[in-house]
Symmetry: C2
């Protein structure tokens, strides 16, 4: 009946599970109840932002041991999350001299460049070592100094990258050979300023476990490892999906972002789209006389414009993803136009046929659309072909236009395309109507 209080039997897994729901004090308390090793394992799995928040809640005397437990790139990420400049300075001072210099160098890079992503510690070898010497040398390196000993990089005295050898190759090679004989000389490397998306594409394409980062003189600066690439790929997809939905990317988890900040990120695009969408009221105003004469035309307005929006949304999301994956480049725009023109005509014809059938059936059963129902049906069907074709073309080309102008193609969101297509859709619809229905309804 008398159980010990649950806090005393807490495990790392329990705490990890409960983490998002805990208050700051409970998190600090929970970490203290774990053995140091387990607490560190948990700490390492937190995002940099969570680590930073936790650090600020800890008493000053405990902060140092935690930040010192991190690898330099993770420490740099944590410090970057500190909102106040003095706090950053205070945490930098807690690091040992070597790490502090590495972290300061990393902080100078942009977060989304290869330099901001890399770890400055990697396994280095000299080309004239024997394989046996290399293995012994690598075995002697201490725990913390090298995060990811999968490849060892062969450098000349000026730290320029000469070659790479995987541990597997090193261990399988005969011990008396020179490192220069077993290394692969032409190493694929990225520049410090390479964008993280380009690094991710290279890793995906080559299947490498780590990519070396070099400066202009091919001096080696660090490595970007594949586990960081997993986060990059996931974060870029999150940004693209949120933009595609028509808001700014949130940049933090949905459930924990402050309400006011989330509304601000969503209100911007929503208001901009609303202002654009107001043109539909203007366009409708232009055709007010037609609507007055033939109210039946107004009934199909939502159907027509939303079909354009839907087909545009399909096209834009396909093109944006293909661009992000590197399948489509700017120069491919004309191939996309050709494909989407065909797709748009085909899809528009399918919807037009369905629409025409619907109108004929409804007239047969309910006598809804008056004596000129066939002409109304033809108007709707022809408009659908035009609107859907325009929608797919606009949706597929907008990302190209945005990229050409230097914007993120993912800003060509589904709502953006829909807004663009709505006004044009109205014009197509009412123009078609006045051509087909002149002398009868109009």
């Amino acid at each position: 009946m008398s159980e010990s209080p649950p806090e005393e039997r807490i495990s790392e897994a329990d705490l990890r599970e409960a983490w998002p729901a805990l208050s700051c004090e409970e998190r600090v308390e929970g970490l203290r109840l774990l053995p140091r090793n387990a607490a560190e394992d948990l700490f390492f799995t937190l995002t940099s932002r969570e680590q930073a928040e936790l650090m600020l809640d800890l008493p000053a005397e405990e902060q140092r041991s935690w930040i010192r437990a991190l690898a330099p790139d993770d420490a740099a990420d944590l410090i970057q999350e500190m909102p106040i400049l003095e706090e950053r300075e205070r945490f930098l001072v807690m690091l040992d001299d070597v790490t502090r210099k590495e972290v300061q160098a990393l902080l100078a890079y942009k977060e989304d460049h290869a330099g901001g992503l890399m770890n400055p510690r990697f396994a280095r070898l000299r080309p004239d070592m024997t394989v046996d010497e290399a293995v012994t040398y690598l075995r002697r390196q201490t725990h913390q100094s090298v995060e990811m000993p999968y490849y060892a990089y062969v450098l000349d005295p000026q730290q320029r990258l000469l070659g790479v050898v995987s541990f597997r190759e090193l261990m399988a090679a005969s011990g008396t050979k020179r490192v220069s004989e077993v290394m692969k000389p032409d190493v694929m490397a990225v520049d410090e300023q390479t964008d993280q998306e380009a690094v991710a594409r290279l890793v995906r394409k080559t299947g490498l476990m780590a990519v070396p980062v070099v400066d202009r003189d091919r001096r080696m600066k660090g490595i970007v490892t594949v586990d960081d690439i997993v986060d990059v790929v996931s974060e870029e997809a999150t940004e693209d999906i949120q933009k595609l939905g028509g808001s700014e990317s949130l940049g933090e988890p949905y459930l924990t972002i402050e309400m006011r900040r989330m509304i601000r990120k969503r209100a911007g695009w929503l208001s901009a789209l609303f202002l654009g969408e107001m043109l539909t009221a203007t366009a409708m105003g232009v055709f007010e006389k037609e609507i007055d004469k033939a109210v039946v035309l107004a009934l199909f307005v939502p159907l027509i414009i939303s079909s354009g929006g839907n087909s545009g949304s399909q096209a834009t999301s396909l093109v944006i993803r293909a661009m992000a994956l590197g399948e489509l480049r700017l120069r491919d725009w004309f191939r996309v136009v050709r494909r989407e023109l065909m797709a748009g005509l085909a899809l528009g014809s399918i919807l037009g046929a369905i629409g025409l059938t619907r109108i004929v059936l409804w007239e047969a059963f309910f006598k809804t659309y008056g004596q000129h129902f066939v002409l109304v049906g033809l108007t709707v069907a022809s408009s659908l072909i035009g609107v859907v074709t325009f929608g797919t073309l606009a949706g597929s080309l907008l990302p190209f236009v945005l990229r050409r102008l230097g914007f993120d193609p993912a800003s060509a969101s589904a709502p953006f395309v829909a807004t663009l297509v709505d006004v044009t859709g109205l014009i197509i619809y009412f123009t078609t109507a006045s051509l087909i229905l002149r002398g009868t309804l109009l």
Copy 2:
């Protein structure tokens, strides 16, 4: 002036660059012009589908050496891409006996389960080895047998997983210690049937370079390495983005998918949405009398319904991504309702205020909306609050409903939500209008 033909100076990088634009014959020819090593490097970077297509273009006597160059998990993926069953058998026979058995075992797993993703070859140690023996043993293992020697797994004689030791730890440990003393005993492992998304989340959360896959008796079957996880994360994002845009996921690159197949994948959802959207024509028909009396009301129909669609599209994309990242679970639905109710009211009020201002300004300058313009403005503004709030609620809840019913939440695409909101938006708008405008315009 007389240059040698460019084909003779081709490099791996050139060929890789040109690859997507080449015909089958040119690809085969290009590979033959490279040294075998470079050709293999290029071959390894192709997707399984590309590898399979290439293999079918090669003469039979060359196929064997290529498929034998692959690791068992990659060979299994390639064979899975073969469309014809007899072809699969033919390629299986080309493998050596050990690999064939491994590949056959892998082919029995579903592609998107941990078992279908894993590599059956990994570094194994016995717990009673000394560290020195372990290092020597691992050095002696041949090139191909172990894909990713970053961790070594410690197994008992029944192949049950006892512990794990990273190469770093093994190399840093004193050579006379036992493996059982330096290994970490409680290893995080996944079941053969674990879904690949769950494996990816585990890797992202823990930062592990490889996750062991075990069967029900904790016998170790293989490892899923982080480089495979990069592909999983990217593919899952591609699927979600394509679904979010309102089509089936294509499953192959945009530029190379056959036109007919692409149209089929897009026409399904587009037609379904069109059928749903037809309800707007019905809804508009119900309010035909109101429109006839006050045509001014029709002018704002596109503006109102698209605002609902846009806000719903924002909400649904935020929620779908948060679900995919594991930030939101089914039981969080009520927290989401609360957040989106507040966000919807705030966003609706912002748009309502802009809309009211617009109508008042236009009336002042152009005398567009008649003597009751204030009432028309109030109708539009109140409807916007209602429609946007409904849009955010519907958009955020639809993914929960779909998941609860066992569907993919990402099917709650932006167009799906827009269609859902359009009909309701019309009802909200015309009901508000008849309340506010009764006795004046209506």
